[in-house]
């Protein structure tokens, strides 16, 4: 059924004890799209991924992969995944694990091409226990690709890689997307989402905060922070143009702003000096905070039951 979406979640909710990890997420990913789930640690990305893969049953709502229940889609060979807590068996060689996993698919990815794509030529005879963190990730990538699955789900796949490894990895992912694979990946790096994804879904507090093209989302969350020392009163700072939040410790003031130029102009109009002035790109956390607190930026199809306090 090529018409069915690669991933289709409706009202997906995951609770652990009293914690709401995923709070009514609706997400539909058509086949062939490359989608980043962007969010800070604890935003709920992994819970969305794990529920989508059938690793645990959602508390409410439902997920379908390629038109089937997740576990069924996996068993039919339609899905490959790199998990955050996935791993390799001890006391084995890379080649043995790869042979086992490839043998589980009716139509596995040709071995030579698989090794080249994952960048693990020469590792087949290696003991799994002797792999470096980056090598291990690439072997896990090879396992995810072993069945040449139409849908790839990757949970922070580059976390153990160095800069060079990351670049090579994302080049591989773009190649897969070009071949028509659907790639869904979770990341907390805005630049990764920006460089690879057709579509970025920003996740925070278990909800979808923004959903759109990388450029559109970036323009929404790429704010700046302005810092300086301010011994005197701080009245009015929050009302300055562009300022979305006022923060700081002791004398240090930190303004989050969507328009650093306008904010600075207003600041200098008011005072002679801004000791210790620094302007920098907002961290993702600040950007998320901004998205979470600004009511007009709520995502297009998110319904928030009870306003879910954070």
């Amino acid at each position: 059924m090529p018409g069915t979406p690669a991933l289709d979640a409706e009202g997906l909710t995951v609770r652990y004890g009293g914690t709401v990890a995923v709070d009514g997420v609706d997400l539909r990913i058509p086949r062939g799209e490359t989608v980043a789930l962007l969010g800070s640690n604890g935003a709920g990305k992994s819970s969305i991924v794990n529920a989508a893969l059938g690793l645990f049953r959602p508390t409410a709502g439902r997920v379908r992969l390629l038109g089937r229940a997740p576990a069924e889609a996996v068993r039919a060979g339609g899905v490959g995944a790199m998990l955050q807590h996935g791993g390799l068996p001890s006391e084995t060689r890379v080649g043995e694990v790869l042979t086992l996993v490839r043998g589980r698919y009716a139509d596995p990815w040709p071995l030579d091409d698989l090794l080249a794509t994952a960048g693990i030529q020469g590792l087949l005879g290696r003991t799994v226990d002797a792999l470096s963190g980056g090598q291990r990730q690439r072997v896990l990538l090879a396992l995810a690709l072993a069945g040449a699955p139409p849908l790839l789900v990757l949970d922070e796949p580059t976390s153990a890689m160095d800069v060079g490894g990351r670049q090579a990895f994302w080049t591989t992912m773009r190649g897969l997307a070009d071949r028509g694979h659907t790639v869904v990946f979770a990341t907390h790096h805005l630049d990764e989402a920006d460089a690879v994804a057709d579509r970025v879904v920003v996740v925070g507090g278990g909800r979808v905060l923004a959903d759109g093209s990388a450029a559109a989302v970036k323009s929404r969350i790429a704010g700046r922070t302005v810092r300086f020392r301010c011994p005197g009163p701080r009245d009015g700072l929050a009302a300055l143009p562009g300022v979305t939040a006022v923060d700081g410790v002791g004398e240090l003031v930190e303004l989050s702003t969507s328009d650093a130029e306008a904010t600075l102009r207003a600041l200098f109009a008011d005072r002679d000096a801004l000791p210790g002035l620094e302007v920098r790109g907002a961290t993702l956390e600040q950007a998320f905070l901004h998205l979470t607190t600004a009511p007009d930026t709520t995502a297009r199809d998110t319904t928030a039951p009870d306003g879910a306090p954070r």
């Binding site: 645990f56 996996v74 791993g87 068996p89």
Partner: protein
């Protein structure tokens, strides 16, 4: 499933510690204990009895170690994330446990056979061919109790605790169940304790066969009860904490 079974067998068989503790050590003990305790008893003319007794005890000791050592590895496969990884590969649910049960059951055999050979050719224990087969057969069948125990511990414990538990359980079952020394030489309280251990009744299966009779119904029933309890506990734990759940 056969691909996964071969894969697991190769992994365990490659582990030298496993081979040492489940085959080499029980074989050495068979000779050592028979000589030490047998020599003391020679005056009473009982050496042959000790040969048979330790043959059975060490078959039991080796089999328990092999069954526990093969199955408790579930805990290691969980902690590395391999069991989780298997969940995103086309593998039917329950296969991982089924395969590990089979691996545990299969790896008991080499231990039983090697100790039997040592008993026959080093210690000179004489049994008819039918009795040898029956002995290995009942010891193999009975080992399912310890496969169930090992699976339960492997599911319930994290990898570090599992390593310790394997050593403690193997030692306690052997020492308290009368595998390292005859229960008859123990004081009364320890005899009662031995009778509460599955390892005592497990070895009883073999002692019955060696003495020329069928395994006693009591031994069979006690072992079935232990097996049921261990299996039920394993099922209860795995339902609360699935194998692919992240450890810790």
């Amino acid at each position: 499933m056969s691909d996964l079974l071969l894969f697991q067998l190769r992994r365990v068989g490659r582990n030298r510690q496993y081979v040492f503790f489940t085959i080499v050590l029980p074989a050495l003990f068979t000779v050592l204990f028979t000589q030490v305790f047998g020599a003391q008893a020679t005056a009473d003319g009982g050496q042959a009895d000790y040969g048979e007794l330790y043959l059975v005890s060490m078959m039991g000791y080796g089999a328990i170690g092999a069954a526990l050592g093969a199955t408790i590895r579930l805990a290691f496969d969980r902690s590395t994330g391999w069991l989780r990884q298997l969940r995103v590969v086309p593998v039917p649910p329950g296969t991982a446990i089924t395969v590990d049960v089979a691996v545990g059951a299969l790896l008991v055999l080499p231990s039983l056979v090697v100790v039997a050979l040592v008993g026959r050719f080093v210690n000179g224990v004489e049994l008819g061919p039918g009795s040898w087969l029956a002995l290995i057969g009942v010891m193999w069948a009975g080992s399912v109790v310890f496969v169930a125990l090992g699976i339960g511990l492997g599911i319930a414990l994290d990898s570090q605790a599992a390593g310790a538990a394997m050593g403690i359980a193997g030692t306690a079952l052997a020492a308290l169940g009368g595998l390292w020394w005859p229960v008859e030489i123990l004081p009364g309280g320890l005899v009662s304790l031995a009778h509460a251990m599955p390892s005592y009744w497990y070895a009883q299966l073999g002692r019955d066969v060696v003495s020329g009779s069928a395994p006693s119904a009591q031994a069979v029933l006690v072992l079935l009860a232990f097996c049921a309890v261990f299996s039920a506990a394993a099922v209860a734990v795995v339902q609360r904490r699935p194998l692919h759940a992240v450890a810790g």
